[in-house]
């Protein structure tokens, strides 16, 4: 039976892991390779390395952090940040990525998703959507590391991205990011229903109960970051709690 994936996420800026709240107030959390090795030993099923400055600085994710994390772990490695072309993606695969995440560039050119899926397979073409809750109960897609509103409905964009070839949606609630108040379950339900694609829940994980709630809402995988970096919990403890509630997990 396929197990639930726990993905340890490393937001990287200037070669260091950082974490803030709602994408702001970034604080240093350590070295990417050291943290990745710790999370692998602890039972992480996948590592994500997201260069959070790349788009803002008009470049693709830096290879150095990817190469160092690749050398440190033997797990699937998902890499994103500033990828605007197949060539940029190819350079990151070459550096050690097993799949790539696109966000801002896919919104400008959705065919990028199609090209990635054709060349590397749908599972290697991950669409990241950063969503902000709107007053009327909808969600708006926000790009450029949370800095630019698009006016687009995040759920409709997710559906379009899935049609264009995205094999998986990395769905982040900007409102919940770094708060530890739980994933945005309403957002997860809507995107799962609209896309039929596996959804990685992101933004707001505080306890194992939050992870459980996201799975019940339809998420396939769970992204965790701050609570691991701050050593509030471990992947091992989170997995134990999920297993105790009957979820299939890879033992660690």
């Amino acid at each position: 039976m396929l197990t639930t994936r726990l993905i340890a996420c490393l937001d990287v800026a200037d070669g260091r892991v950082v974490k803030g709240t709602s994408f702001a107030d970034l604080r240093d959390c350590g070295d990417p390779a050291e943290l990745a090795a710790r999370y692998e030993a602890d039972g992480a099923d996948e590592i994500a390395v997201l260069d959070v400055r790349a788009t803002l600085e008009g470049r693709s994710a830096r290879r150095a952090a990817v190469e160092r994390v690749r050398a440190a772990v033997g797990l699937p490695l998902t890499v994103g940040g500033g990828i605007t072309s197949i060539d940029a993606a190819a350079a990151l695969f070459d550096a050690g990525a097993d799949r790539v995440v696109v966000n801002s560039a896919a919104l400008r050119r959705p065919e990028l998703l199609t090209h990635l899926a054709e060349r590397y397979g749908a599972q290697a073409a991950v669409l990241a959507i950063d969503a902000r809750r709107q007053g009327q109960g909808g969600y708006e897609a926000v790009v450029r590391a949370g800095s630019r509103a698009t006016g687009l409905d995040a759920v409709s964009w997710a559906a379009e991205g899935a049609r264009r070839g995205a094999g998986e949606i990395l769905l982040t609630s900007i409102d919940r990011d770094g708060t530890g108040t739980g994933y945005d379950l309403d957002l997860i339900r809507r995107v799962v229903a609209a896309t039929g694609r596996p959804v990685i829940a992101s933004g707001g994980a505080g306890t194992a109960l939050d992870l459980l709630a996201a799975l019940e809402a339809g998420a396939d995988a769970l992204l965790v970051a701050g609570i691991l970096h701050r050593r509030e919990t471990t992947i091992r403890d989170l997995k134990r709690a999920l297993a105790a509630r009957g979820k299939a997990i890879r033992p660690c």
Partner: protein
């Protein structure tokens, strides 16, 4: 140091394989000439990309025949993911393209599963031990299509399917051993020396 020759199938996550073999004390070279295939201690057909594309790339560059000769002489050879599938007869993924036919099996799309792609960690049981491995694929050989003259390891996703095959010194893995921690490394180690997997 053992010399592993990696065939270029057009698209691939080479860095992960280089790292995994380095952990086992082996050096990886990317094949530059089909003439190198016979002499390598171990040949790896890696795993990202579509069936038709991978088969065509190997045929056009002259590697397909060299690979078949090598398998016929029972020299250590590893197929990974699509590298397992192209050893079969054909695949739903690329109608009209013949595989290398080392195994007579058909590769089919997963039927009636909750998701179009089998992506993530799943339990594997069989000749390569009992453990969890990382998968990423939308097509597979169903267990009832497994070749009768090979050892088989099995996983479940909408029914049992072939997670790994072994016939002599040929090992074909549907999962990604380079991304499957200690379980994957054990499978690669056994492929390197052509021995049975020790777990």
């Amino acid at each position: 140091m053992t010399n592993v020759l990696l065939l270029d199938t057009g698209a691939g996550n080479r860095a992960s394989l280089v790292r995994a073999f380095a952990r086992l004390g082996a050096r990886v070279d990317v094949a530059a000439d089909p003439g190198d295939v016979a002499a390598a201690a171990c040949v790896v057909v890696p795993g990202v990309g579509a069936f038709g594309n991978a088969v065509r790339t190997l045929r056009v560059a002259g590697y397909a025949d060299a690979l078949l000769d090598r398998i016929a002489s029972d020299r250590p050879t590893v197929g990974i993911c699509v590298g397992l599938q192209i050893l079969c007869a054909a695949s739903d993924e690329s109608p009209g393209v013949s595989g290398l036919g080392v195994f007579p099996s058909m590769v089919r799309r997963f039927a009636s599963t909750p998701r179009p792609t089998h992506y993530g960690w799943n339990r594997v049981r069989g000749f390569c031990g009992d453990g969890y491995a990382a998968f990423a694929h939308g097509y597979r050989v169903a267990l009832d299509e497994a070749p009768s003259d090979a050892d088989v390891a099995v996983a479940e996703f909408g029914g049992p399917f072939v997670a790994a095959l072994r016939r002599g010194a040929l090992i074909a893995l549907q999962f990604h051993p380079e991304l499957s921690g200690a379980f994957g490394l054990a499978a690669l180690a056994s492929a390197l020396d052509g021995s049975a997997v020790r777990c």
